[in-house]
Symmetry: C2
Subunit: 238 residues, 2 copies
C-alpha cells in the first residue's frame, strides 16, 4: 500500500476529521524502544507532530533512524527528553518502571500544565507474570502523586503488545484510559483512536491499577493457552 494511502487512512481516523486546527505536538520520553517508536510511527502518520526523546540526543537519533528504516517517510523529530518535553503539548512516558520517576524528575519543569500519558507497566522481574503493584497502588498513581495536580497524568496502553504497534496491522486490544480529568482522558482517547485502537474511560488515575495488573494476567494467558498476543476487548449486553 503506498505511503500516501496509509497517510490518508490514518488521517481519517481522528473523531473529527474535518478539524483543521493544528494537532498537538507529542513528545515520547524514553521513546527508543518498540513501544515508543511504534506509537511515534502511528501518530506521525495520523498527522501529529512527534518528537522521540531519550537521555541523549544520539540515542534518540539512532531510534528515529531505525524507525525510518522500518517505515520510510516517517516524519518525526529526535531530541533529549528535556527538549522533547519542552516542545510537547502532550508527553508520553515509555520507560521501564524502574526509571519512571527519575525520568519524570529530569523533565518535570517542562511538564507544567500538560497531559502526561503514563505507559509504565510495573512488572518486577523475574516474576513478570505475577501482579506486584507498587505501594502507591499503581505506577500511574505514583506518577500523578510525584508530579502534583498541576500536571494531568493519564494512564494508557499497558496491555498492547509493543511490536504489534510497529506493524501494518489492526490491533485487537482495547485501551483502558485512567486519569482524574475527563477532558484529559477525552484527548487521550482521541490519540488511542488515531493509533488505530479503541479507548475507554476507565475512571480516575487510581484505576490505572486495573490495566497495570492485567499485563501480568495477559502474560499468563499467553503462556497457558493456545493464544498469542492476548488482549482484551470491552463488550456489553442488554
Amino acid at each position: 500500500m503506498p505511503e500516501t494511502t496509509l497517510n490518508m487512512i490514518a488521517r481519517a481516523q481522528p473523531a473529527d476529521a474535518s478539524d483543521s486546527r493544528p494537532r498537538e505536538t507529542i513528545a515520547i520520553l524514553g521513546g527508543t524502544g518498540d513501544l515508543g517508536t511504534g506509537l511515534a510511527w502511528r501518530w506521525s502518520r495520523a498527522g501529529y507532530p512527534v518528537v522521540i526523546g531519550s537521555r541523549t540526543l544520539a540515542k534518540a537519533e539512532t531510534a528515529l533512524a531505525g524507525l525510518r528504516a522500518r517505515h520510510p517517510g516517517t516524519t518525526a523529530g529526535a531530541a533529549t527528553n528535556a527538549d522533547a518535553a519542552r516542545a510537547a503539548d502532550i508527553a508520553v512516558l515509555t520507560v521501564p518502571a524502574a526509571h519512571q520517576i527519575a525520568t519524570l524528575a529530569s523533565v518535570q519543569t517542562n511538564l507544567a500544565g500538560k497531559i502526561v500519558i503514563d505507559v509504565t507497566v510495573p512488572l518486577v522481574p523475574p516474576k513478570v507474570g505475577t501482579v506486584q503493584l507498587p505501594a502507591e497502588g499503581s505506577a500511574g498513581k505514583r506518577a500523578q502523586e510525584f508530579l502534583g495536580d498541576g500536571v494531568m497524568v493519564v494512564s494508557a496502553f499497558q496491555n498492547v503488545a509493543a511490536h504489534l504497534l510497529q506493524q501494518e496491522v489492526g490491533i485487537e486490544c482495547d485501551v483502558l484510559v485512567a486519569g482524574n480529568k475527563k477532558a484529559a482522558r477525552d484527548k487521550v482517547i482521541e490519540l488511542v483512536q488515531a493509533a488505530g485502537m479503541t479507548g475507554w474511560h476507565a475512571g480516575p488515575i487510581d484505576n490505572a491499577a486495573a490495566a497495570e495488573a492485567l499485563t501480568s494476567v495477559l502474560i499468563q494467558i499467553n503462556r497457558r493457552h493456545p493464544i498469542s498476543h492476548a488482549g482484551i476487548k470491552l463488550v456489553g449486553q442488554g
Copy 2:
C-alpha cells in the same frame, strides 16, 4: 424451551461430557443474593449437586424458595454456611467484602483440603468506581493468607453482572481465574464453562488484583459510554 432441553444443553457444557463420575458438590456460602443463586441455578442445571448456604438455615431456605420461583425445577439444598461447607467438595464465597474474613472464619474447620472459589469484589462504598484494593493486594490474596496453604483459594467471577447469571442468556464476559495451584484453576475453569462462560488461567492468587480492580473500571465504562453490562473478552492475534 422445556427444562429437559435446558438440562441437556447445560449438561453438554463441561469439557468431558462423557465423564460419568459423580460431579463435585458445590456449597455457595453467603449464597442468597443474585450472584450466589445465579451460580447455584447454572451449576444445578449442569448436573452439579448444589447447596445454598447462609448464616441461618431460614435465610438459605428463603433464597432457595425464591430461586425455585424464578426457575421451577431447580434442584439444590439449603443449609447454614457451616453445614454447607462441611457437605461441599468445593466452596464458593459470595459475600460483601466487609464480611469475607468473618464468613471464612466461621467455616474454616470445614474447608481443609478443599477448593474455595473467592468471588469477593473489594469495592469500598460510596466510591465503587474507584479502585481501592486491600492492603494484602487483593481480596483473593487476603483469603489465601487467612486460610493458609491447606486450602486452595481460586479467585473468579468478579466481572460478571450478577443479575445476568439469573437469566436464560449467554453471558458476554470472560472469567479470569487466579490461584496458586494449576489443578485447582483447571477445576474452576471447568465450572466457569458449566456456568456458560469462558475461563482463563490468570496466574497465581496475587493476580486476583486484576479482575478485582477491573470491576471498578467496568462500572466507570457503564457510566460513561453507551454500553450496558460492560464485560471483557480475551482476544489474541498472530
